[in-house]
């Protein structure tokens, strides 16, 4: 297939070779670099073959030598097809202009893709990037990824990592948000370790400082696990940067409710389609009516970005909005379905609240009340706790040792 495509691009000819010594003619041609394919013998003195365009001019002398006559029967390929357009200057000019524009526009950043924004609003990051020199329409060559990274990270403390990848006219910005919740107390400063969870201590690891609790005891959120204030048997006091963590058993109970009756939208089948074009940041509506066409509707928005490939995008987006008319009716929720939905939501909620917790026991209670369904998830978990906090209570005045 590739070979056929190459031959098509270079142009090829179907020729008729007529003569008494066609085999000799073929041999003479191939030894002198003219290649043949699809050779077909139709009569003892007639042969059809396909040759490359440049081969035609080279085989004339050999044809004379072998007393053969060569006639072009068919011309195939791009050189012959483009030949007919050679006097259409406007068309050629337009094509050249188009290529020039593509070349020119490909030197600018047209799309910015953000990855890794979870807590930080994307608009805020885009604003910071714009202030640092990365915005839609800026020249790709003028974007200094290192400089942008340094500037943005200096201006915000929400991010711990940022990288800018420029691929053609597309800028990909990957960020990692700061997730550490430590109080940020320097390791050279004394501190306590307190619990941020309430539960029963299952395991205790104290690396530095004086343990304030024992395994099996109950600890409340805010209570100290290890103190940074150490007292010797001679009642001497000194301070350390305490380091400890405790695995605590915690119990959580969460309840969610779901109304038994919901409003259901049923499509009537009638729909309207609207188009809009977005050029850069400007939206051009390709319709006249502004207001919503139906009282109750469901809207489906499809966006089509103009791009050649993943890295070569244009700032042009076609938006297709399909408005589907619907009627409203009250519908009863199936209790079994409600049970599943509530359980699913509660599990998701639990996973989001304590992502690192190891669930030891789970108990789900589903109740049907008047007008609503209620789901309660009770979990027993094993969680790790221990955050640094400034040294709280000073027992004695003393100097550091």
């Amino acid at each position: 297939v590739l070979l056929k495509f190459i031959n098509y691009m270079r142009g090829n000819l179907r020729v008729e070779i007529r003569g008494a010594a066609v085999e000799r003619f073929l041999n003479l041609c191939v030894t002198n670099g003219v290649i043949f394919w699809d050779v077909e013998r139709t009569a003892p003195d007639v042969l059809y073959a396909t040759i490359r365009l440049e081969g035609l001019f080279r085989l004339r002398p050999y044809a004379r030598k072998c007393m053969c006559r060569v006639r072009v029967m068919e011309k195939r390929g791009i050189p012959f097809q483009t030949r007919r357009y050679r006097h259409r200057y406007a068309l050629l000019g337009g094509a050249a202009l188009c290529l020039g524009l593509i070349w020119l526009l490909s030197g600018f950043v047209w799309t910015i893709q953000l990855e890794g924004c979870r807590q930080m609003p994307e608009s805020e990051l885009l604003q910071l990037l714009a202030q640092s020199g990365l915005r839609t329409g800026v020249r790709s060559a003028a974007v200094d990824a290192v400089d942008i990274k340094n500037r943005v990270l200096q201006q915000t403390d929400q991010l711990s990592f940022l990288t800018v990848n420029i691929q053609g006219s597309h800028a990909q910005v990957v960020v990692r948000e700061r997730t550490d919740t430590k109080s940020g107390i320097d390791e050279s400063q004394p501190c306590d370790v307190v619990s941020d969870k309430t539960g029963v201590i299952h395991r205790l690891r104290v690396r530095a400082g004086a343990a304030q609790v024992k395994v099996g005891e109950t600890i409340m959120a805010g209570e100290r696990i290890a103190a940074g204030t150490m007292i010797s048997s001679q009642q001497e006091v000194w301070y350390v940067h305490a380091s400890a963590e405790a695995d605590v058993r915690t119990w959580h109970s969460r309840t969610l409710r779901l109304p038994a009756e919901v409003r259901r939208l049923t499509p009537t089948g009638s729909e309207k389609v609207r188009y809009a074009l977005v050029l850069g940041n400007r939206r051009i509506n390709l319709y006249w009516i502004e207001s919503a066409p139906f009282a109750w509707y469901d809207m489906k928005v499809e966006k089509y970005h103009l791009r050649i490939d993943e890295n070569f995008r244009f700032p042009i987006t076609l938006i297709r909005e399909t408005w589907q008319e619907s009627t409203v009716s009250q519908a009863q929720i199936d209790p079994e379905r409600a049970r599943q939905v509530l359980e699913q939501r509660l599990l998701e909620n639990q996973a989001a609240r304590s992502p690192d917790a190891q669930v030891l026991k789970r108990d789900y209670i589903f109740e049907e009340q008047e007008g609503f369904f209620q789901g309660t998830l009770k979990t027993e978990c094993l969680e790790t706790t221990g955050v640094a906090a400034p040294v709280g209570e000073v027992l004695h005045d003393g100097t550091d040792h």
Partner: protein, 97 residues
Amino acid sequence: VRKPKEKHSLRESIRRAAEQWDLPQDVLLGLSHIELEGDRELLIDHHQGIIEYTAERVQVATREHTLRIEGSELQLVAMNATQLRLRGTVSSLSLLK
């Protein structure tokens, strides 16, 4: 009494050496390399030209022999200075000295 040494031509010596060391003879001696795919397609490397070409019989010159291919609907699919590809239904192949 020392046994008189057999005298070989250089070409024959190369052939023997190639056989002994398991080296490709077609590369060393420029011999033709013939590949037949089923009875449908035939590839000849290092040919020396076509002697006869019809739909029923094709004769190709190689360095040491003439290769006669007989069959039906034989067609020369591609040909350049070193390679030649034939397609059709091959019924017999013979080497003529």
